[in-house]
């Protein structure tokens, strides 16, 4: 077989899903065996942001765009300190990147962190399979080529449902992201992306980042102008401790949640969450802002979603919910993309206004956070 780099040996890699669906490729980075939930992302650019996004913890990510690695890796585009995906699957990896910002290859970067990257996979077939049969557990191996054994392994792997992934990616210690800013924001780190922190900073916030299990008291003690609930990996029901603390903050401080943050806020308000068949991951979903009927092209990255009862049901549900207002809706499948509670001064968004990667259409939401923080 033809090698893209002369000195390298070709290492065959097998991908097996829990239902036995098998594809064979080769590694372009690393080797070994790894399990995770296999998901696809349809963004055509931004592989570096995706790989380093802590929300992908526990997941093996495949890119639907076939050519990956083209513009290399640079230090500015990281969403966290290291790659967070369990493994990375592409159709064709490029080992000769060219871009003025590039500081190295994707292969080097993944290998530095012992992440397996494989190529030569019919990623479209894989995507279609997941679309039809739902997100699935999978295994990639370069050491075991017995398919049955791999199926066994993957089926013995518990997967992500109900599992707390947050604890693997949340910071251990509280830290100060920046020291200047009109608004003091405490950001609860369920796996926060750098670009969210940068957006907050750009929007005149001084951000204190605290671990996911920080108590409400401790947060309120800091008397912040607002509390931010970050994105994060895994099943939102797996972190009841987080929901419990947020509940205590409701009404006391303005709250803004993004993605996992919305799922936490939703639970705190009494809504439930569910797992989407194969999730939303990409940079092209239309989301309608119901306040002005404007459509935003959004960045999406979530496998779970907050249940959306209709208006009447909400009314009947009572409690906080009767005043809950849906603000954003996904036009592809009508799922809930954002809600707010004016009385409690809290709102949240299921998608990613900070983008990275993806369109910047929704960055105004950080301004809205400023606004509710300035209301006295």
């Amino acid at each position: 077989m033809y090698k893209y780099r002369e000195e390298e040996l070709i290492i065959k890699a097998i991908l097996v899903l829990e239902d036995g669906f098998t594809l064979i490729g080769r590694t372009f980075a690393g080797s070994g065996e790894i399990k995770g939930e296999v998901v696809f992302n349809t963004s055509m650019t931004g592989y570096q942001e995706i790989i380093t996004d802590p929300s992908y913890k526990g997941q093996i990510v495949t890119m639907t765009y076939p050519l990956i690695g083209n513009y290399g890796i640079n230090i500015h585009d990281n969403e966290s300190k290291k790659p967070q995906v369990e493994a990375f699957i592409v159709r064709e990896y490029c080992d000769y990147p060219h871009n003025w910002q590039s500081e190295g290859t994707l292969k080097e970067y993944l290998e530095q962190h012992n992440i397996i990257g494989i190529e030569g996979i019919d990623t479209r077939a894989l995507t279609r399979h997941i679309r039809q049969d739902g997100a699935m557990k999978g295994i990639i191996s370069t050491i075991d080529d017995d398919i049955d054994s791999l199926i066994d392994k993957v089926n013995n792997y518990p997967g992500l449902i109900g599992k707390d992934m947050v604890k693997h990616v949340s910071c251990q210690e509280e830290y100060q992201w920046n020291t200047e800013g009109k608004y003091h924001v405490v950001a609860i780190d369920y796996g926060i992306k750098n670009s969210i922190l940068k957006m907050l900073e750009e929007n005149d916030c001084k951000v204190t980042v605290v671990p996911a299990n920080t108590s409400a008291e401790k947060i309120l003690d800091k008397n912040p102008d607002g509390v931010f609930l970050s994105n994060g990996p895994g099943d939102p029901v797996s972190v009841p401790y987080a929901v419990k603390e947020v509940k205590k903050i409701l009404g006391k401080k303005p709250i803004f949640g993004i993605c996992f943050g919305q799922q936490i806020l939703g639970q705190a308000l009494g809504l439930s969450t569910y797992k989407l068949k194969f999730g939303h991951r990409g940079g092209n979903h239309p989301v309608k802002n119901l306040a002005n009927n404007h459509v935003e092209i959004s960045t999406q990255n979530h496998g779970f979603c907050v249940e959306l009862p209709d208006k009447n049901e909400l009314k009947k549900m009572g409690g906080y919910l009767k005043d809950l207002e849906v603000t954003h809706k996904n036009l592809n499948d009508n799922t809930l993309e954002g809600f707010k509670h004016t009385g409690l001064k809290c709102f949240s968004i299921q998608y990613h206004p900070e983008a990275a990667p993806g369109p910047h259409d929704s960055r105004y939401l950080f301004k809205e956070f400023n606004e509710i923080m300035s209301e006295k």
């Binding site: 077989m1 033809y2 893209y4 594809l23 696809f40 349809t42 963004s43 055509m44 650019t45 931004g46 570096q48 942001e49 639907t64 765009y65 076939p66 050519l67 083209n70 513009y71 640079n74 500015h76 585009d77 159709r91 064709e92 490029c94 000769y96 990147p97 060219h98 871009n99 003025w100 910002q101 019919d122 990623t123 479209r124 077939a125 995507t127 279609r128 679309r131 990409g282 940079g283 092209n284 979903h285 239309p286 309608k288 009927n293 404007h294 459509v295 092209i297 036009l331 592809n332 499948d333 983008a355 990275a356 990667p357 993806g358 369109p359 910047h360």
Partner: protein, 1091 residues
């Protein structure tokens, strides 16, 4: 809010004839718009002078005006039809310019016509380059330093400030006409003065050069609620300095990080909002400095453009259709994504493949023209290749080009072979590198192949980047293709005797994934293509088909739009329905244009009506045939044996139609038949009969018809013998060519020898054909349909120029305007005889030459001809549709058709030429086709129809002024009556000495003017001073004189109408007489056809 109900009737302006820079993409967009708006219940009034378009099919609009796209004419249509709105954004630059004119002259206001899609302000802001820059600076978007000047002095002044090189771009012109790159003061003087002249507003923009930056393009859509989406992003393979239309381009963008891309996107959004394009598509071009990421905006087109067609095909997003709907008030979120059904059109397509567009040039048509690429577009068409990798899509696109290449080299067609280049010694190698370096530094149409030679020679990516500024990512991909080839070659050196036996299956599979064609593999392994195919199938290395679905597989897609690749999963599944496959015509080029696409689309419509599943195969993104809703299934694939067989293996069609796609599919006839594919219509054998000289002569003799005396020669000796027998002048050409490629009239032995030296180099496999050249014969084209028993004549067209001017370049009239009824009848009879003898099933086209009472047969084409749409529009019946039914087995006698009747109106077709783009080229016509497009004029008399055709072609016949006559001795007597008629209409006459003397001897008042070199003021001065309104010039014969060429070029530059034939002059005076005597009226096809 749904569509507007306050407007009912919408006027749509088409883009007119196909010219360089404005191809059939606007037929695609216009057709989509017409269809969409008609569906919405609006009444559509359409104007387009181009009869070859699908959009001018009478069913497409309620009222179809095939009239010149001129402000006065449109005003007449507006007065007559009183439309509520005008949609100007789908007819290219032509449509937009005309709409601006109509707005400025107050016509729109006067008749209460609203501009929809883009308002006048937005058009101004985007199109006026200076205004655009000012606006951009205001909103903080980077632009280049530049000056807008109207005089040469001002241009020079700017140059002093900024330095060279400089880019010159005239305002409001198309495809960079009149622009260029000036590296020094002399070039600046040349280009700037020409540019000022070319611009309709006498303005040019000179600008600092950023040659070598990366070039990008974004396609946007905006609705009235200010929702904006980016439909497609495109990256140019060739760096800034090569016009986008001449660049290889790739979608999506490959080498920008997400941040860089999003910032560009943000800017694009800002720009479209600021310019104020209310609804519809726009495209914005950016340049990015590869050193530091600095970005500037180059230009914006506030309309559907050439790239929109590409973007539509590249993503599956129906840009034109949606733009039309947005223009009438819909918003993006109200419209459905027609591919997924469930999701709205308000999204940004995600694609999971790579699209590569490669332009098609026809430089060899214009001897003496360099194939260098600059900021002025020169390509005449394009192809698109879709693959899962850039490598695959590039190689597919290259083999789609119809230039006898089967991929990126390694196909037996390389100028320098792999073996040659790898066995050079050191000094040879150094020489070769120098030779190749030049070809890399100056962009040219062959550069992509020179990159291959360079890589084989071991030049590294850094060096190639330095020479070409093509992004290293692209160069690396090219290198990978070469590395694969080397790997394949290595596998041969093993000891087994059969080179294929030692070929590892994985390697073969990977080679296919890299886009290697069987032909390339056959060349590398020294086997037949068929052996590679068999081996491949045995090893189950077979193509699969993937869907173009706008969403990268995220949603279920319903639109059957496929491309092939070598992958795990196949997504195209055969249905049980009876199915017919149509092979399209490939890229537009001179000799094969939109006409063939028209026929393919008509066939698709007819097949649908006959309840067949239609499978379309084509690779030209500009076309209607590659619109996914034209057929039941679309395969966007190269039209080669391998690619077509791949589809046949999956689809097993009941039959394949080849005769509508021109020469491209026809070439495959025998090979497909051999593979057991059922060819519908005329059999490959019959096609061969008509193309094989000897066999055809036998038929002519058998039927006792006449052919010009002729012969076939394989050597100069043979050729000379034939020439002696049939006597000079003779017409020579290589066998098997379309569009009269390399065809020449030769007057003596020396010229014959000279020609053969050249021609044999042109094609070693084929002999040359020699015919007696019939001087002064009237050429006649006939289109007919035959079913094996009957034959119905569609139309008999009389050419205006004599035989010797290629039928594609000659104007012609339907019905004939001077031929006697007896001759016409005889021509019809001969057509029927030939159709029967050749066993034609479907269309047949015959070209005759009539000399006195003698009728000669020049050529028989048992297939769709260039004139099918022209005839169909004129007679009001679609010949291609009828022919399709015949091919399915229906009998003409059962179709209730009347024999072709003489109409009481007359249509004239006129050709349109690209000479303006090729400096220094002579504009005289000959047997080699040079036109890129055509227009039609229709009226109730010949003169007016001719005048309209001229107008449509951009030639405004003068109604007064001076006529310059300078003709050779043979034509002096013929020109006399014409000169008299010009006098009678009040024109004054100017002539060069010989002609002037002759006219004066015949009692005409003439002013004598000096020829070039005979003293000043000379002809050129007269033209420059606007003292000449019409020029009659018949060439001196044989080789045209340099001075003559200069004179004709000057006329071209000054846009002075010129007749280079006596017949052309005659028709012109007839047109002028009509224009002076009566009012020009407009009338729609629907009205003509009812009468």
């Amino acid at each position: 809010m749904p569509k507007r109900t306050d407007i009912e009737k919408i006027l749509i302006i088409g883009s007119g004839p196909i010219v360089i820079g404005q191809g059939c993409e606007f037929d695609y967009s216009g057709s989509q718009a017409c269809k969409a708006l008609k569906q919405e219940g609006y009444t559509i009034v359409l104007i387009n002078s181009n009869p070859a378009t699908i959009m001018t099919d009478p069913e497409m609009a309620d009222r179809t005006y095939i009239e010149p796209i001129e402000p006065d004419i449109i005003e007449k249509i507006i007065v007559k039809e009183r439309p509520d709105a005008l949609l100007p954004t789908l007819g290219g630059q032509t449509g937009l310019n005309i709409a601006s004119t109509l707005h400025q002259s107050g016509v729109l206001k006067k008749y209460d016509v609203e501009l929809i899609g883009a308002n006048f302000d937005a058009i101004q802001k985007a199109e006026d380059r200076q205004l655009f820059k000012d606006v951009m600076s205001d909103i903080g978007v980077g632009v280049l330093e530049s000056a807008h000047v109207t005089t040469l002095e001002a241009a020079l002044e700017f140059a002093d400030q900024v330095g060279y090189p400089l880019i010159i771009r005239p305002s409001f012109t198309l495809g960079g006409t009149g622009g260029g790159i000036a590296y020094n003061i002399d070039e600046l003087k040349d280009i700037a003065s020409n540019g000022i002249y070319q611009s309709p507003t006498d303005q040019i923009l000179i600008e600092e050069s950023i040659i070598g930056w990366k070039e990008y393009e974004l396609e946007l859509m905006r609705d009235k609620n200010d929702n904006v989406v980016i439909v497609c992003s495109i990256e140019n393979f060739d760096a800034m300095g090569v016009h986008t239309g001449d660049s290889i381009t790739v979608a999506p963008i490959q080498t920008l990080s997400d941040k860089e891309y999003q910032e560009m996107r943000n800017e694009a959004l800002k720009i479209i909002r600021e310019v104020g394009v209310e609804t519809g598509g726009s495209n914005i071009q950016f340049a990015v400095n590869p050193e530091n990421g600095r970005r500037v905006v180059i230009e914006m087109n506030p309309r559907v453009s050439r790239s929109s067609a590409l973007a539509s095909k590249a993503t599956g997003f129906a840009i034109a259709k949606i733009a039309a709907k947005l223009a009438v008030g819909y918003t993006l979120d109200e419209l459905q994504n027609e591919i997924t059904y469930e999701t709205p059109a308000c999204f940004e397509p995600a694609i999971d493949y790579v699209v590569t567009k490669i332009p098609r040039w026809d430089f060899e048509k214009f001897p003496g023209v360099k194939n260098n690429l600059t900021t002025q577009m020169k390509s005449v068409g394009e192809v698109m290749g879709i693959g899962r990798t850039f490598k695959e899509s590039l190689q597919k696109a290259l083999r789609s080009l119809e230039q006898d290449r089967h991929g990126w080299g390694a196909d037996g067609k390389d100028i320098y072979t792999y073996q040659e280049l790898t066995s050079l010694d050191q000094s040879e190698k150094a020489d070769m590198i120098n030779k190749i370096k030049i070809k890399l530094i100056t962009p040219n149409s062959e550069r992509i192949f020179y990159l291959r030679y360079a890589l084989i020679l071991g030049m590294d990516i850094e060096t190639l980047y330095e020479y070409t500024k093509i992004d290293k990512w692209f160069l690396y991909n090219l290198k990978q293709i070469l590395d694969m080839e080397v790997e394949l070659r290595k596998s041969i050196t093993s000891t087994t005797s059969d080179s294929l036996k030692s070929l590892d299956r994985d390697l073969l599979y990977q080679a296919k994934q890299y886009g290697f064609s069987d032909k390339q593999l056959a060349y590398i392994f020294n086997k037949d293509e068929s052996m590679i195919r068999e081996h491949r199938i045995q090893e189950s290395v077979e193509a699969v088909f993937k869907l173009v679905d706008t969403c990268a597989g995220e949603f279920k897609a319903y639109t059957p739009y496929y491309y092939s690749s070598y992958e795990f999963e196949n997504e195209s599944h055969r249905s049980e329905k009876s199915k017919v496959m149509i092979l399209g015509g490939g890229p537009n080029r001179i000799g094969q244009g939109i006409e063939f696409d028209y026929c393919c689309v008509q066939a698709a419509y007819a097949l649908k009506e006959e309840n067949r599943e239609v499978i379309m195969v084509n690779c030209n993104p500009e076309t209607v045939s590659t619109d996914y809703d034209t057929s039941d299934k679309l395969y966007f694939e190269p039209i080669t044996l391998e690619d077509v067989l791949n589809i046949c293996r999956k689809e097993e069609p009941d039959g394949v139609i080849l005769q509508f796609g021109g020469q491209t599919p026809l070439k495959l006839a025998f090979a497909l038949e051999k593979e057991g594919i059922n060819i519908l219509g005329t059999s490959p054998n019959s096609i061969d009969l008509s193309e094989d000289r000897e066999k055809f002569s036998e038929i002519i003799n058998k039927l006792e018809l006449k052919q010009p005396p002729n012969g076939i020669a394989y050597s100069f000796q043979q050729a000379k013998k034939i020439a002696d027998r049939i006597t000079y002048p003779v017409l020579v050409r290589p066998s098997y060519v379309l569009g009269g490629r390399a065809m020449e009239v030769v007057y003596d032995d020396a010229a014959l020898e000279n020609y053969i030296d050249k021609a044999v180099e042109l094609s070693t496999e084929h002999p040359i054909l020699i015919d007696k050249f019939l001087e002064g014969a009237i050429e006649v084209d006939v289109d007919a349909i035959a079913d094996g028993e009957d034959c119905i004549i569609g139309g008999v067209m009389e050419h205006i120029e004599m035989a010797g001017v290629h039928s594609g370049d000659s104007a012609c009239a339907l019905p004939p305007y001077s031929l006697s009824d007896i001759i016409i009848e005889e021509i019809k009879q001969q057509t029927k005889q030939l159709a029967k003898e050749l066993n034609v099933l479907g269309l047949i086209n015959i070209q005759f030459a009539v000399k006195g009472e003698q009728i000669y047969i020049l050529e028989v084409n048992p297939r769709a001809s260039r004139t099918i749409p022209f005839v169909s529009k004129t007679i009001g019946n679609s010949l291609a549709k009828l022919a399709t039914r015949v091919m399915l087995g229906e009998k003409l006698s059962d179709m209730g058709l009347d024999e072709y009747q003489k109409t009481n109106y007359i249509a004239v077709k006129e050709a349109v030429f690209p000479f303006i783009k090729f400096p220094g080229v002579d504009i005289v016509l000959g047997p080699e086709m040079k036109s890129t497009g055509e227009v039609m004029g229709i009226d109730d008399n010949f003169g007016m129809a001719f005048a309209k055709a001229q107008m449509g072609a951009g030639v405004l016949l003068p109604l007064e002024g001076s006529v310059l006559i300078t003709v050779n001795d043979r034509h002096k007597a013929d020109v006399l009556p014409i000169a008299k008629r010009f006098r009678k209409e009040g024109f004054s006459l100017i002539a060069t000495k010989g002609t002037a003397d002759y006219l004066r001897d015949n009692r005409l008042e003439v002013e004598t003017v000096s020829k070039i070199g005979e003293g000043r003021p000379d002809i050129i001065d007269y033209m420059k001073n606007d003292d000449i309104q019409f020029l009659i010039n018949s060439p001196e014969g044989k080789a045209a004189l340099k001075d003559e060429i200069k004179m004709r070029r000057q006329a071209l530059l000054k846009n002075i109408p010129i007749a280079t034939t006596i017949q052309g002059a005659q028709a012109t005076i007839e047109g002028i007489e009509q224009l002076r005597a009566s009012k020009l009226d407009v009338k729609s096809l629907q009205e003509y056809h009812v009468d």
